[in-house]
Symmetry: C2
Subunit: 297 residues, 2 copies
């Protein structure tokens, strides 16, 4: 790195932390990552973990702007939720207690929705970054992942959002039930996935039975692990799509994520006649952190 | 035990094995249990595990009649499935290879349904026992548990059945997702359970979102662990009831199970205007094993 950064951007999640040395223009000069996610840390652990990542970039006072689970109740310091409907970055940063001279660490608050109850931490920054890059964009953002989020955006504000357990349910059901014997593979079958999506969409009420049927078909009719795994994913995503029908049917939809996580959702939406726009989650995070840094100058 | 048994009944499941010293009249003289279930054994382990339980009862040649996962492909010896529709005990026993002089070990085959694909091992014996005690009974049996089964019975035969992953999905979701932080209790809330049942029945397509909402409500509005745990169970059972509506609506239903496992299903069915009959699973198992022993004389 040839020059000292103007500020530092941090995305601190449950499992990992990523930091970028940034220019005032929003360019990343360098990047560092570690596995010291919120899930492994107590409050006194955060500052040392941060310095391990960014200590080499510091040359005098520096401001850090962070998003994600670092601001959860069980994180470094709680950054209370802001409410929706509203701007994705409606209020200032919550400062964490630091001891390093010249180091300021500000956390972007998450968003909460009261009815139906829902929360996000980190995704609000992606939304802000997406909107900074796509001014005036109205529609529904879909952020795939462990807890996929449908986020309705209009006039620069988050109108409402809807989180589901779909990704984590897939992991729990495929790893911790009798289905583990039937889906033990990394392989994948596109047709079986789409069949699962269609079934989940058409008959969400059959889910509990269709899950067991994966086991029965692998015992009785030689359903392969690749087909069983893909159909399991399809059943869960199809059920999610059934419940979220009002969010995507006839709507302008953009997928905001990273490569592999987007693939099944892109295929599922395409099978239903939706042609989603796409945007990169990391770019959106950096643009959102930059927006928060500018607003808090 | 004052007398030598005429035969021995065994229910050998995935986690446990139960054995009873039986009279020709179907009375149990003694009982023994161990945790040497199918999941912990290789084929050569079965005979020693059996002798640990029943060796003290043997005084000359003896026949054992067994049901359950001992007859699975990964059990002692595979007892191939019989087909439905048909009698719950349509064919003879499959003999396991024994080395103890005078010891005969016969396994009751499970039942398989081809479309939709489904399987049972052990439940067919309960059905046979229930029918032996309730001759001419027509209706739907519901066997609660890890994999609840709806079994349609008419004219002494199993017409069709439907297995769901409901019980095991509850364990996986409550133990291996973010919900574990929200449902960590043994307590229970009846009203929250019934609210979950109603929601699962009315909107099964919302399941993926309603699961995450348990977490959001525990963060935002202080949903207690007892309410969250009971509502999670209710959502899954309600979804199962939605898919199985054709099995219980307007039907004669009997719950065939054991105390604690029956409670939520009884409450859920009662909330929908169904007043299920009830029968004890162990008694049904013993009656079914007795029926199989008589038929194989």
């Amino acid at each position: 790195m040839d020059r000292t950064p103007d500020w530092i951007a941090v995305d601190w999640g449950t499992s990992n932390v990523r930091a970028w040395a940034m220019t005032a223009g929003g360019e990343a000069l360098a990047e560092a990552t570690s596995d010291k996610g919120m899930g492994k840390l107590s409050p006194p652990d955060y500052e040392p973990a941060l310095l391990d990542l960014i200590g080499g970039w510091m040359d005098g006072p520096i401001r850090v702007v962070a998003c994600g689970m670092v601001g959860a109740r069980q994180g470094w310091v709680e950054a209370p939720y802001a409410s929706v409907p509203g701007h994705p970055l409606p209020v200032g940063l919550t400062l964490a207690p630091t001891t390093t001279p010249g180091l300021s660490f500000g956390i972007i608050p998450g968003l909460a929705q009261s009815d139906p109850a829902d929360v996000m931490r980190g995704e609000e920054t992606k939304v802000a970054g997406f909107l900074a890059r796509n001014p005036g964009w109205d529609g529904v953002l879909l952020l795939p992942g462990t807890h996929p989020k449908w986020i309705s955006v209009s006039a620069g504000e988050v109108v409402a959002f809807r989180t589901s357990l779909t990704g984590e349910a897939f992991a729990a059901l495929s790893g911790h039930t009798v289905l583990r014997h039937s889906v033990a593979t990394d392989a994948w079958d596109d047709d079986a996935f789409l069949a699962g999506v269609a079934e989940g969409l058409a008959r969400p009420e059959a889910l509990m039975n269709r899950l067991f049927a994966l086991r029965a078909e692998s015992l009785l009719s030689g359903l392969t692990p690749a087909k069983a795994r893909a159909r399991l994913s399809g059943l869960l995503i199809g059920t999610d799509l059934a419940g979220a029908r009002g969010w995507w049917l006839g709507a302008r939809v953009a997928l905001l994520g990273a490569g592999d996580l987007m693939t099944p959702w892109r295929a599922a939406l395409t099978s239903q006649g939706v042609a989603p726009e796409e945007a990169d989650a990391t770019e959106a995070t950096l643009a959102g952190l930059t927006e928060a840094w500018r607003r808090s100058q």
